[in-house]
């Protein structure tokens, strides 16, 4: 087969790992082509609508596995378009995690302090801002008051949201119609385009092939714009450098499928998957007690009844992010909005009789939906996820026209993970049930297994070749010129929302990718400012990078 196209750098996926690298490489002078399996949806197309075929189902992906279901983005901008934009940095103890492998999971050179300059670059670029109490939604405020009542602290979370523009519609998962969420559609991606990068939506990469000249041929299918089950064409592009950033639910699948044309994959490709230790608890709030016990009242006299109002997570409890606690005892508890559909079926009736997820009692609590408060637990799981045989195309067998598929991921929680969830469940109960303000139950894991909106670690960086697929510079072991920069590269669960860490690692990976491209004859340099031209983040990393900054 003869390829008719070529590029310097081919990037698979346009979420954080793809957009950040695309911007820097394009700004540095490389010819960059981004292939994105999902559609390119413009801001005015984002709808407040659950109708199948609306923006919500076009840009969201839900893959049911065996013991773990994964929610992710499926559009230009990836997870940033559907996520809730919470951007905490990972606590320092995370970088010392050993998990079950008996040695550090993270490369020794990465610590919180060495990563902070890269976090700073992301914070400047999106940008990320602190929230104050006047930004906090009713739901976040209620969680804060509950924590305080139980003797706990609560923090307004740092977010990539322009709160002055936000209308608190709680439709962030369908794409922000108001331009308030600082998704990648508002910063890195337009900057990459301005520097000449091209983005091709509805191009799903299937396989990579090694070429005799040391480059790679990337094979893709073109996907129908409405029915993602339909392939409307195929093609290939040759590249000197390939960056895979298809998300932790897809990157290892592409590499597994490529084994016949690339050669043996590192053992850790498709292993050590982490769901970021995620689990949800939903409480049914006693409105009278919100008023009488917590002293909260809205402008209109209601106490709470505000599940529909807000902007995803605004307040988190970090008391158990304590590095002196043993591994698997540390977790955060973050207030979260989860939309109906997937967001109600798994909620269980607190104290209900079996079955707790459907039936008459369940209907009754759905009728109390306005008084729901949902808490997102992020514990330290055990990286126990393993991908099985790749499906014929994509990363899942697509059931529905959009959104719903069945994938090859298998996840059987270890006693460590179950221990972490049990501790977090108990802390939720303690906080909610003091004086009966709320009655709470975890979501069931018996229907679609555990679930995550933050898949990680399925192709991770590390110092140990036996347990990491990538070098600390994000290069795929044994396959020079292939880099992975998405959530799959993050070695472990983080106990907080991972977007900030995924993005910081992608920023950190760029100088080594630039160097590799230079070695392959690409005229490219490192040193672009933030997408809006700000330079303090760049100045902060000047002394830490191994390549020459342009104009230095």
């Amino acid at each position: 087969m003869t390829s008719s196209e070529s590029t310097d750098v081919l990037i698979v996926g346009s979420g954080f790992g793809g957009a950040i690298t695309a911007y820097h490489l394009a700004a540095g002078g490389a010819k960059v082509t981004v292939l994105e399996r999902g559609p390119w949806v413009q801001e005015h197309e984002f709808e407040h609508d659950f109708l199948l075929g609306s923006s919500y189902t076009r840009i969201f992906d839900f893959v049911i596995g065996d013991g773990m279901s994964v929610l992710g983005g499926n559009c230009v901008g990836g997870g940033s378009v559907v996520y809730f934009a919470a951007h905490p940095r990972a606590p320092g103890f995370i970088f010392d995690r050993r998990g079950s492998i008996g040695r550090n999971m993270w490369p020794a050179e990465i610590t919180r302090s060495t990563l902070d300059p890269w976090y700073d670059r992301v914070a400047e670029s999106l940008p990320v801002s602190m929230q104050d109490w006047s930004d906090v939604s009713y739901a976040g405020g209620l969680w804060a008051a509950l924590c305080d009542h139980a003797g706990a602290t609560a923090n307004p979370a740092p977010v990539a949201v322009d709160n002055a523009t936000c209308v608190n519609c709680n439709w962030m998962m369908a794409g922000c119609r108001f331009g308030a969420k600082r998704s990648l559609l508002t910063n890195y991606l337009p900057a990459a385009l301005a520097h000449g990068a091209t983005i091709r939506p509805l191009h799903e990469v299937q396989q990579l092939e090694r070429l005799d000249d040391g480059g790679y041929r990337v094979h893709y299918n073109a996907i129908d714009a409405e029915d993602y089950r339909i392939t409307v064409g195929s093609g290939s592009i040759d590249a000197k450098i390939v960056i895979i950033a298809a998300g932790a639910g897809a990157t290892p699948v592409i590499l597994q499928r490529s084994e016949s044309t690339l050669g043996t994959m590192p053992h850790a490709v498709g292993r050590y998957f982490s769901g970021n230790g995620e689990r949800l608890n939903t409480a049914i709030i006693d409105e009278d007690k919100v008023r009488d016990v917590l002293g909260l009242v809205r402008e209109d006299g209601r106490a709470y009844e505000a599940n529909q109002i807000g902007k995803g997570p605004t307040v988190a409890n970090w008391d158990k992010l304590d590095g002196s606690l043993p591994e698997y005892d540390r977790f955060s508890l973050e207030q979260l909005y989860f939309p109906p559909g997937l967001g109600t079926i798994l909620a269980q009736v607190p104290g209900g009789s079996d079955p707790t997820w459907f039936g008459k009692e369940k209907k009754k609590i759905i009728g109390q939906w306005k008084s729901w408060l949902t808490i997102f637990q992020m514990i330290e799981d055990d990286n126990e996820g393993v991908f099985g045989e790749p499906p014929t195309t994509g990363n899942a067998f697509r059931i529905s026209q959009q959104m719903l598929g069945r994938g090859p991921l298998r996840y059987d929680p270890t006693p460590n993970t179950l221990h972490g969830w049990a501790l977090a469940d108990a802390e939720c109960r303690r906080i909610f049930e003091k004086e009966g303000v709320g009655s709470v139950a975890p979501w069931t894991n018996d229907v679609v297994g555990a679930y995550t909106v933050h898949p990680l670690a399925s192709c991770r960086i590390g110092d140990d070749p036996a347990t990491s697929a990538l070098t600390p510079e994000h290069e795929l072991r044994g396959h020079p010129g292939i880099f992975v920069t998405d959530g799959s590269a993050v070695p472990s669960a983080l106990t907080v929302n991972p977007a900030m860490t995924i993005a910081a690692l992608a920023e950190r990976a760029v100088p080594a990718i630039v160097r590799a491209a230079q070695e392959r004859g690409v005229k490219v340099s490192y040193g672009a400012p933030a997408p809006d031209g700000s330079t303090s983040g760049r100045n902060g990393v000047r002394d830490t990078i191994p390549v020459t900054i342009a104009g230095r």
Binding site: H48, P91, W133, V136, N155, R177, L296
Partner: protein
């Protein structure tokens, strides 16, 4: 064919399944598909059959099989327990609400070989009620969709978008963690 018509085995069976997930009031006195264990509209009135027959779900083509299979499971369930079934309606419909619940609980339990199919069917039945995925959400609310109304969804603005000018208690409600860094993150 009218929903619930006694000679439409598939429709009656799927309605009975949906009614087990989110139960509702009977639509008419002779309604057999809906068990009638609740006194407000449930998944069936919310449009479960309309959603299941929406091709985009990917489940539509499998409905005849699912209806037939759940009736087979219902018959086995009844036989094993010595429950006598009324032949006038499909076996699953002939079961009491309690027994319908038991059948679905068994079919969706971890390890059941057909679990995926039954979970998918339950998922879309639930979605018909809690998100009306077969309708434009704003239209559904304005038309009085029973699930969205029961949940207390506020009506959107005239352009179909929600905006909440009042959203915050507006005051400090807890102490922040003492180790919070300047970036607002945990240390």
């Amino acid at each position: 064919m009218e929903p619930g018509s006694p000679d439409d085995t598939e429709t009656m069976t799927l309605e009975a399944f949906a009614d087990t997930i989110i139960p509702g009031a009977k639509r008419f006195p002779e309604d057999r598909a809906i068990a009638g264990v609740d006194d407000t509209p449930g998944a069936v009135q919310a449009g479960a059959l309309d959603l299941l027959h929406t091709e985009a779900t990917g489940i539509t083509i499998g409905l005849p099989y699912l209806a037939s299979a759940v009736n087979g499971h219902a018959k086995n369930y009844a036989d094993e327990r010595g429950i006598e079934l009324d032949d006038d309606v499909p076996p699953f419909v002939a079961l009491s609400y309690h027994d319908r619940t038991e059948v679905i609980r068994l079919l969706t339990a971890p390890g059941h070989p057909e679990k995926d199919g039954w979970v998918g069917l339950a998922l879309f039945c639930n979605m018909a009620y809690d998100s009306a995925a077969h309708l434009h959400t704003a239209d559904a609310i304005r038309a009085g969709h029973p699930g969205l109304i029961a949940m207390g969804w506020d009506v959107p603005d005239a352009d179909g978008l929600w905006r909440f000018p009042h959203y915050t208690y507006g005051r400090k409600l807890a102490e922040v963690h003492p180790d919070t860094t300047a970036s607002g993150s945990p240390a």
